[in-house]
Amino acid sequence: MSRVVLMQGNQACAEAALAAGVRFFAGYPITPSTEVAEIFAARLPRLGGKFIQMEDEIAGMGAVCGASLAGVKALTATSGPGFSLKQELIGYAAMAEIPVVVVNVQRLGPSTGKPTAPAQGDVMQARWGTHGDRAAIALSPTSVRETYDVTVHAINFSEKFRLPVIILLDEIIGHMREKIALPDPSTLRIIERKKPAVPSGEYLAYKPDDDGVAPLAAFGDGYHYHVTGLVHDETGFPAGSASITADLITRLHTKVYNAKSEITLFDEYFMEDAETAVVAYGGTFRSAMAAVKEARAKGNKVGLIKLITIWPFADEVVARAAAKVGTMIVPELNYGQLVGEVHRAANGRAHIVSLPKVDGGVFTPQEILSVLDKEVG
């Protein structure tokens, strides 16, 4: 049975994670993400899970990596300053192929910035914040209900592809309360990581199946394997030949890119006859939707593309739209980040307009509408 409730975005994230089987949270509370930690602290002990408030954000990231290797679905939540601190271990989780979920409820930065102000300034950090090269998965919801679904997807993707998945919430969606119909947890499609089907002597923790992902035994299951951030062979022990190195770094990309159509979550509105399109994500989508509806009411042929999956970037979706519309407008609560990807995907096929906002406020529909009017006119 679905349940109708008033719920906050951060709460929907925590509820979905619990429903999807997360039983370990370690982190360090920080505005505007603190409610996620609070809910786990209250709920996990009663479900037989563990909540640990760590000494800092780095330790929180380390603890979720450890818990995941012990076979427990693990999640941590933070905001910009903590997301910066977690970057090294996000890279470790990528290299060691540890399924974890990192929730970043974005606030205005750099540094401690403006703790209670919404922003979308960590979009590129979610992709490139850790050093080295690998594919990243980052998802950004646009409503409280969508936060629930996105959280389930994030956990599923982390388990399926054995990598850290980022949920990019923002202060708007994280702190907003909406009436939502909560799904019955028994109806959710939950993916569990692959477990080895071979005896312990034959198990190789980094020997991929055809999908590019190796089964993952839990520490304590009786399988012995090695975990390192160094380049490693199929046993997990350091090895540095050119072919092993190239194969590993390539696979850290292809295991995601080969499944891109499954990972790319998006939606399109009023695009059938659109001559101008707005591309929006996260809380900004809500302002864009109000603006686009007003533009339509005036008779202007304006459409809207909602990007839920930020990384890998939805090149095909943007390229298809760019071939059809004359202009694409990209409002973001940053100085212009994802607009660069829109440019790259559009590849000259449409006129791209960046609409940045960095005053700590939310876009009003009017702010987007006035740009639409100008571009349409």
Binding site: L6, T116, H175, E178, K179, G283, R286, A290
Partner: protein, 176 residues
């Protein structure tokens, strides 16, 4: 669609009031979005909760033009007291808002004074104010707001909060 802004300073319980109002709207079967804006301080600083109640899905979650504004201190009145729809209603707490234009659409009520004198504590001001907002505007039903208040307040304070809500309601009704 009705847009409501509850404003004052941090610690006055405005965000809780906003959540309760939104939960009452859910009980009434309405669509609702509730947001807030506040500073980094635990107390003091400005604080604002907003609710949009509608029969249809709500896109933009923030108030654009307020239909109802509650001002629990001078600063919030100065900032939001006149930023309102032509047919909108402003409710001011005369205990803490000394200077305001006493126009037809302004409902001036001694909210915090009533909390202290009627219930012994200023912390009931938010629930009294909620009673006044609902009593004056009918944005949610009386049964829904009662149910929502009682579901949210700490156990053992139900009677005091029920009384607070009734005090606000009656004040608003009398002033109408």
């Amino acid at each position: 669609m009705i847009q409501i802004r509850l404003s004052g300073s941090g610690g006055q319980g405005l965000i809780l009031a906003g959540i309760i109002l939104a939960e009452a709207a859910v009980i009434d079967g309405k669509e609702v979005v509730q947001t807030q804006a506040y500073g980094p301080e635990a107390r003091g600083g400005s604080s604002k909760a907003e609710c949009i109640i509608s029969d249809e899905a709500i896109d933009y979650p923030k108030v654009t033009v307020a239909d109802v504004v509650l001002c629990l201190n001078q600063e919030s009145y100065n900032k939001y007291g006149k930023d309102i729809h032509a047919d909108g209603i402003v409710i001011v707490d005369t205990t803490l808002v000394r200077e305001f234009e006493n126009k037809e659409n302004v409902l001036a009520l001694p909210v915090t004074k009533t909390a202290v004198e009627g219930l012994g504590k200023a912390i009931f001001a938010n629930i009294i104010a909620l009673g006044a907002v609902v009593g004056k505007t009918g944005v949610v039903t009386k049964t829904a707001i009662e149910q929502a208040v009682l579901a949210r307040v700490p156990r053992g304070t139900e009677e005091l909060n029920r009384k607070a809500l009734a005090l606000g309601w009656e004040m608003a009704q009398k002033a109408c």
